[in-house]
Amino acid sequence: MQDTAAIIETSGLRRTFKGKSKGRGRSDPAEVEAVAGVDLRVAAGEIFGFLGPNGAGKTTTLRVLATLLRPTSGTARVAGFDVARQAGEVRRRIGYVAQAGGSYRECTGREELIIQGRLFGLGKAESGRRAQEILSSLDLADAADRTCSTYSGGMRRRLNIGIGIVHRPDLLFLDEPTTGLDPQARARMWDEIRKLRGSGTTVFLTTHYLEEADALCDRLAIIDHGRIVAEGSPDELKRQIAGDVLTVGVNGNGERVVKLLEGQPFVREACLEDGLVRLYVDRGEEAVPGVLRLLDRNGLAPSTMNLHRPSLDDVFLKKTGRSLRESAA
């Protein structure tokens, strides 16, 4: 990876906001640190995921990288240019699709694509051709001349991505590209994103879906409270948590069971999570009978038992002490 060129490189990137005090008091508004020192390197040609719960600083980081917000301190180079000092150069080379979308419901898909092309300096005819090309490749040709208000959720998302790639950017930012989509539309979106990578576009996306980060991203960074807590490919990250994960339902006796199991030689770590006892063990098949025996000896019976390989949520839990599923809810 050292050989590949970095398309995003940040160092000590921070962004703070003035806290909004609702009261009438003149008390100094607290500064909220949305991005608290992010060092990031994204290689050209990969799908890079930014995984974290709502409010972790994903969108703020993305908006700084896309020149919508100026960094409070630190530097970020995107597509070879400084986001603060050379915003114009950055904008020419990136595409950005916000969570809010970008297409206007009273415009047709074709109109939106054409004006976007023209804002990037394409001629009228050229912009029309490019719009048609995108409409066909995104399977929107039949809906091209209907207003966006008539599109389904998935179609509208595809159009928004189309608007983001009209000028063939080197790098495309996608903020929560599949939030709120049904599973079918989500799978479709994943295909489109992989196609973009296939055509040489680097994709930087944010998500709070573990499955999405796992299945779609070549590499990802886990962000929490404005800081990157882990970075690597999904496999690398999961490998940091060796062994298996065993979750046991114990009908409200969680704390007692955790205490009981903590000292056992076959348990590396035990904690209580969502009412379930969560055990990190070296070998699941050895741990299961041991746990059962111990519970039985203490007059307890498990209501559920589940053995699985570590997931990205386990990585998140390990790094932050919270479950992402919980934080995202």
Partner: protein, 253 residues
């Protein structure tokens, strides 16, 4: 060049969107006609009251309605922008190399064109009611109305960008537009007002626009109020376009 071209693109887009909404177009044209038909007849008797300025009743009344039309036609345009903000349109365009001034100017020029069309309809329809016109005066008056639009439309967009939602925008715009209107002498000439109210009116830029427009419709080219009206609105328009363009480049929503 870039700014001019981008302004044209945004103007074209916003004009298309407005024309696509026939209800809006119809209401925009119906409004001045309603004033003409339902308020105009009251003037016959008022015009004979002491203190009413010289000139026919319609030559006093129509200029006021023109300025009011310019005000109402442009001060609410921010509502449409809230919609675009919510759907991420402004944000999407901010990540293109397009000119930030054009984001404002393309929209505001659309607003100016629409208010001038409304004004033209009003003037033409008023002639049978007894409005007398001279072409030079009307031309300058229309330039002045365009300036009123270039003050109010950027103001409305700026408020929309800062406040972000219709819920916050509606009371704010009303709080600004209503005193401006009442203190402008649009309905009845301020010469009928008590002294303290006249003093207050002088602090209202829109008052000067109304006085200047009345002068222009009564062939008083030598009236210094015309220069004052155009200068006041011109300076404010330049200021508001600058403020509006800045708001577009900083829009956070």
């Amino acid at each position: 060049m870039r700014t001019l071209f981008d302004t044209w693109l945004i103007f074209e887009r916003s004009t298309t969107l407005t024309l696509r909404n026939p209800v809006w177009v119809f209401m925009g044209l119906a409004q001045p006609i309603l004033y003409l038909l339902l308020f105009g007849p009251l003037l016959k008797n008022v015009a004979s009251m002491p203190g009413f300025p010289p000139g026919g009743a319609f030559n006093v009344f129509v200029p006021g309605i023109l300025v009011m039309t310019a005000l109402f036609s442009s001060v609410f345009v921010g509502f449409g922008l809230c919609d675009e903000l919510r759907e991420g349109v402004v944000e999407r365009m901010r990540v293109t190399p397009m000119s930030r001034v054009a984001m404002l100017l393309g929209r505001s020029l659309r607003d100016v064109v629409f208010l001038l069309v409304q004004a033209l309809v009003l003037v033409v329809l008023s002639i049978p009611f007894g409005l007398s016109i001279n072409p030079g005066g009307v031309a300058i008056a229309f330039a002045l109305l365009a300036l009123v639009g270039l003050v109010m439309s950027p103001l409305s967009y700026t408020l929309a960008l800062v406040l972000g939602s219709e819920d916050a925008l509606a009371p704010t715009v009303n709080a600004i537009a209503l005193p401006l209107l009442l203190l402008s002498g649009v309905m009845l000439p301020m010469t009928l007002a008590p002294d303290w109210l006249q003093t207050l009116a002088h602090a209202n830029p829109l008052y000067h626009a109304v006085v200047a427009t009345r002068s222009l419709f009564n062939a008083g080219f030598g009236d210094p109020e015309i220069v004052i009206g155009v200068a006041v609105m011109g300076v404010l328009a330049a200021l508001m376009v600058a403020v509006g363009a800045r708001s577009f480049s900083r829009a956070a929503a």
